[in-house]
Amino acid sequence: MIPVLDELATLLTETAADAAEGWDLAGEIPVDVLRGLGAKGVLCAEVRPEFGGLGLSGLDNGRLAAHANSLCGSLRSVMTSQGMAAWTIQRFGTRALREEYLSRLTGGALAAVAFSEADAGSDLSAMTTEVRRDGDDMIVDGVKTWITAAAYADLVVVFGRHEGGGAVAVVPVTAPGVRVEPVPSPMGCRAAGHSTVVLDSVRVPPQNVLAVPGQSLTLLTSIALTYGRLSVAWGCVGILRACLAAAAGHARTREQFGTPLARHQLVARHLTDLYAAERIATQMCEHASRAWDGRSPGLVMDAILAKYVAAGNAARGAASAVQVLASAGARDGHVVARAYRDAKLMEIIEGSTEICQLTLAEHALAVAS
């Protein structure tokens, strides 16, 4: 790791290693902790230095996400949201919008990204949130569900319909008409601030809306979600690393039938599978991030493939880790218990396993000769 990445990883370790269990049990990360990390640029570390960011490569930013998730899945989820908000603004924003908001996102302000709705989950094209012009202002109307990090957010990057196409609105949560209602007791990533965001005729200045005639809602969401998929895939690598460390540590020291668990062959197989799962997920993610950094068109499918493989591996790997730890890990807040709950959600968000499978099948049909 290059020094800056090392330093950032150390900062995350010092912040989260001892606190993550408590955050999970409380269902909350103290917002000052998140603001502190945000002000150091860690939450969206890929933002370019010209906008106040750390300018990490996609590969290093991914490695940072993996490290964060090895400590705390909720913290990594917040990083994914912040990074995706920054990426969306960087790609689609005007120069003025980028300068204003990217500097805020690297200066301690927190952001969430709002795609999903009650009737628009896997099928984002069914979203009904509307962004419309009203005199000199823009109005945003809709209800967004399961919005990661919204409970902490100062800004919500809202995707919606606009004049037959799509648009993105940067909405301050202090604007009249915005209500943020935390999801009670999420199953996983419990401290990630998942919330319903109600936008009741919210008026925003037109410069906060990225609306270009002829824009496609699906192009907007695809580009934003590609960042999210890579970040989630790397997060799954972190889940696997935490599980491998916990399972190996336990299997080395815990004895049953007069011999360490690791010498029991059926336990050893769990360790092998976890190790293979972590290595495969890591290499898929490295490959996709290199395509991202090298601006190779293959990055789109590589990101979906990495997310699909890493999430499945994390869900199976976390289940194996709980099995190896058994009663030692079977309580809420324990690293493998958190991993088990969090990993299942990774098979759902940023493109469910089944949506990834359909997309990859289409791709295989198109390219296989």
Partner: protein
Amino acid sequence: MTEPASAELTVETIEEKLQKFLESRTKQTWDPDADLFKLGVVSSLFAMELVVFVESTFGVFVEGPDLVLDNFRTVRSMSALVMRLRPGDPGA
């Protein structure tokens, strides 16, 4: 495979590269004015691949209001975008 955009880039050479890429990925040929998305042959995910292909092949950044689906709708609209964005363009 990235090559710096240069004065030698012409509409013809840009369109040739685009058509070659499209043919390799869709197994069909495309007239410069054909709407890639109209017939459903090209998905929105593929549109993003096109964005990245245009950026990396012609050395341009497509950001802000330029990053709009209509700019990628036809081979011709993409070549026009590249000609407008390439370094050294007086309008850039």
